[in-house]
Symmetry: D2
């Protein structure tokens, strides 16, 4: 089977990484690096590369050697570029966020589905060994029912010209939620508070609360202004709690057998005063060994495997749309004094249950 001919679109921040990963992926042959600034594309490729540099997206799409494109351009251009690629019969890998609106994302997902082409979102974190282990630990029941999630993703970051901090950083956290949560636990409502204390014209820090259908609360803190880099996610379960500290290679993932339990009803009935009985677990902590594997190589492997096996990728356009729905609701909430916004995609039954469960757990 011949390798998949790929063109990378965009030679800015992320494009060079896609170039490097594509070159290192045996199932892929990199044909083009396309950027409006051809000089930049050439510089990324270096002087000893046979890959073509071009500024013509049309030429790339017209090249029959190109089977697939990987798009790493500003979010505002995604819709047109993805649509053109799909219409040219090319499979597409696209950076997050899929598009600037859920409606556009849904349209692209529909086009891809109709045409039988792979449309994959580069939700890179979902392909890290840590997140894949987290998904296993949750879905296998090892940590028990998910009770709360707290994610912090802050550092001194580039103030993006086209998106605010929510749309720049929160897609990582939301795609991890989408990927890792059990099938039957769905986001239901969102609230967000945002701030632009430097007058950048867009939010530079934001707090996002996501209520889940099982009553749990997830929370995300994203911030471009923090002098220190923190990337921590705590996933509290009824039986164990995971702490993922992505900047600490020595103990990136910890599974704590520590927590607070409420005693069961049977025991409680013996208590005449009916007071809630609490017990504490203070057991061992396990740091699971994780394979050393670069996430972007796994992204490329999944993209090429989905094309070859003619199947949806793990992080397909639907996943991208679900993330967009949460982002849109967050932006709406932030613009409305933090009012809670019920997600449009929530099935009526789930929304009713949530409403019946009462406000805040």
């Amino acid at each position: 089977m011949p390798p998949i001919g790929l063109a990378v679109i965009g030679a800015g921040y992320w494009g060079p990484n896609l170039v490097r990963a594509a070159i290192a992926t045996p199932a892929i042959r990199l044909e083009w690096l396309c950027d409006l600034d051809t000089e930049r594309a050439r510089a990324v490729l270096g002087t000893s590369s046979t890959v073509g540099a071009t500024d013509s997206y049309d030429a790339v799409l017209a090249d029959p050697a190109v089977t697939a494109v990987a798009i790493a351009t500003p979010a505002g251009t995604h819709f047109d570029l993805v649509l053109a690629a799909l219409e040219a019969g090319k499979h597409v890998l696209v950076e997050k966020p899929l598009t600037p609106s859920a409606a556009e994302g849904r349209k692209l997902a529909e086009v891809a589905r109709r045409s039988g082409l792979v449309l994959m979102c580069d939700h890179t974190y979902c392909y890290t060994p840590a997140v894949q282990r987290i998904r296993d630990l949750i879905r296998s029941g090892h940590i028990g029912e998910v009770q709360f999630i707290d994610s912090v993703r802050i550092n001194l970051g580039l103030v993006q010209p086209d998106v605010d901090v929510l749309w720049d950083l929160a897609p990582h956290d939301l795609s991890i939620l989408d990927f890792g949560l059990p099938e039957d636990v769905k986001p239901v409502a969102v609230a967000a508070h945002a701030g632009d204390p430097i007058g950048a014209g867009r939010a530079c820090l934001a707090y996002l609360s996501v209520w889940l259908s099982n009553g749990a609360l997830a929370h995300v803190h994203v911030n471009w202004l923090s002098p220190t880099k923190i990337r921590t996610m705590i996933l509290g379960g009824a039986r164990r709690t995971i702490v993922w500290d992505d900047t600490n290679p020595g103990s990136r993932l910890a599974v704590h057998d520590r927590g607070v339990d409420k005693l069961e009803a049977e025991e409680m009935q013996r208590e005449e005063r009916r007071q809630v009985l609490i017990s504490y677990r203070t057991g061992d902590t396990l740091l699971p060994a994780l394979p050393e594997r670069e996430a972007l190589l796994s992204v490329m492997a999944e993209f090429s495997a989905a094309i070859i096996e003619d199947r949806p990728p793990l992080t397909d356009a639907e996943a991208g749309v679900r993330v967009l729905s949460m982002l849109e609701a967050a932006s709406l909430s932030a613009a409305s004094d933090g009012a809670r916004v019920i997600l449009a995609d929530t099935e009526p039954m789930v929304a009713d249950q949530f409403a019946a469960a009462g406000a805040n757990g």
Copy 2:
């Protein structure tokens, strides 16, 4: 001058610490440890102590050798105990929260003021070397205008029988805000999201947003269910940013000359395109040396000095009331889907400015 005769009320979690600090304070002579459980009080004192153990609060208040009381009983008892002490002419140091409601707190503050007695809130953190340095760094202008504050105070904590996690832990963060912020920056509005995923009957984790009168956003995460202990506060300023990591003795306080700046208006006018210009500071970080001093000893020193000098203590009843107002607003918000609640004490002019500034900065 003879030492101040003190009685400690309550031999539970915090009382023994007050006993130890009182014994170590030269200006104070500990007379009584009072607890409904006299055995417990005796055990705290040990077999070689001359301090009296009693279960009679009346007897303590009737003892002319007692000039002041330090109250470390459950919050629900504070109002009656403090009122009785003030009416008996005793100075009072009381644990946080001052009372379960701001209205009660205001009443106690009024009684203390009328009677010329010291009523001090034990906002212990305000007496740590770290927080005192933070206050200096802010109020001296060293970090510039405060732009954002993010505080995390989470660990596997005791689920309290009488208060939720907001009222248990957030008083620390809110009293630090109250103590450290410049005089002219006031909290204006509050929103909170809370969760009780273990069914304890009260919130075990909560997120609190506090909007400040200068447009900055402060945020507090408190949580009893986290297997790891995190106590970090980031105070972002226009010129520098402070990171306080209270569990890291090696670099408890860091002042970063790192951040994001918007270029000034004059420079911007030269820019015809009027786009926002961003620059980044990536300067050195300073870890200021902090004295090794136990906060509770400083609390006792301040309490005795306020009595001797007949002046209000640094953390007086007014400070306690301001913290209560924020806690009440947070509880109201959490019970209302996280709706933003304007603080009752906000002066009309400030509220107007805040409303005019628009929703979320």
Copy 3:
């Protein structure tokens, strides 16, 4: 059974801790705090204590209510004070080092043995939950044969007037070795390099190598001049490796299933080239939960239990003498260009085996 009447001798750095621990130990009744500076003793006790303060050691030893003494005076005074106490029929707990020479230590051990009195060394670290777990992990075979030990104990410390850094800090590490190593693994030889770069008149930093009878090498770095505090011990085993980081409460003890293995002989014979085959284990890491228990309370509990049960304590005078032998050999080596010194106590057979095993493993 009435409590044991105890006198604490010395109100300097460590004495107040012994006072506090004695008061908190039910089996003990503190009778006296004895110091040449009576004012200091009184200040340590505080104004509300019934414990006597005295500067007369004779009076303490003459008091029939005193069954035992705990000595926390400079090392140079230990021999006379301990001897007098034993001759007065008192049990003795003494700070490390037991005496300034192994010969003196042996004499005291002999006196205690003849008189049937408890003579216990306060090797405090042996009573920490971490070291007790380490001993279990080693002696149960969980980590396999001990292959190497590396201990670092450095911080900005007090330059002691009477002892150098080896005699001040290394007793901790050496007593842990003595306590934790399996019965059949004995220290055999010692070498030490020391430095006094500030001209203090005694070594302020030192490196100590200890060869063990099973061929393993232990190494200790002690340093008074380091601006940062490090207290780490790595105990490498054939099957697992323990890392103890005493300043990191979040992961004080870690048991790593990581390491390098040589393939077994059977497998190797299949290799015609006879080259050494190496394999790597990169398994999980376990952070065992440790009880929260103050070591000094366990010291007091062991001291009183040994008295009551008329048995040698866990860290008896013999243990103290073994530590002194290593310290003496280290001082001798440091004064001899770091020449390797065979320990005097080494049994001839073990010394022969070690010599036969060749120089450096």
Copy 4:
């Protein structure tokens, strides 16, 4: 000026890094990757490269387009490969250690000098921003006289087939010493203790003491068997102390104004008792901002600049030979029970001073 034609020799562990760095260096044009295993070389280059892959070193040296070679083969091959390259008139960059013996290294240095060619050792760490700042801090006098150096470089490492852990890892530390120490502070003597607890046939852990001409003691701990990775160097100075923690990006370099001082002689004379007076500095800590620059790119830049400017590189063959002398002395010491070995290169006067200064500082 045309770019320098370069051939990289060796496509094993380090070669691919040299390839990548060469491609990213404008002044260099990569012509060949040479390895006995041509397939491996081709795989490293990837399918889209125009660089040639060959297994013929002769062909590379015969190619007039090749001006320089970068050698990343096992240490045992360095002498022959470097000599052949120099004799063919090529400039040479060679991995550490320069050769397996100082005598061979001296010979190569002589050949290079006579022929006017650049012979540079890839002492990569000397080109990190951290080490360059350390050199500045030392040589500018900012930390005062160097008093002690402690370096730890341990992790679960590859047991090398051709060199022991001293020759594998200690070249890093020794080249940093050679690079960073002031001109007038020279290593004088060396002692080493090594262990092979797994029976690998070569030392897997080692402790190395290096006495400096100013009386200071440097110490290096290298270890292939540690489950955790530690790369820390403490450089104690009379005025300040540097702590370099290479695995901690948040505070890689810290300059502590903390330490122990002896009071000056004048002050001391006023003291009749002539006791040594000690004082403690507990000032602030500064974390200098470091540029983000990959060391290997700086290595390539220095190599090409030295060729173009016809000057010795910062880390020339002489530096390589000085490191080899220390390694040889360390091996000799380890094979002699840790006896102290005076360095052969030590000038007689320095050796005399050192001997006169007495054994251990």
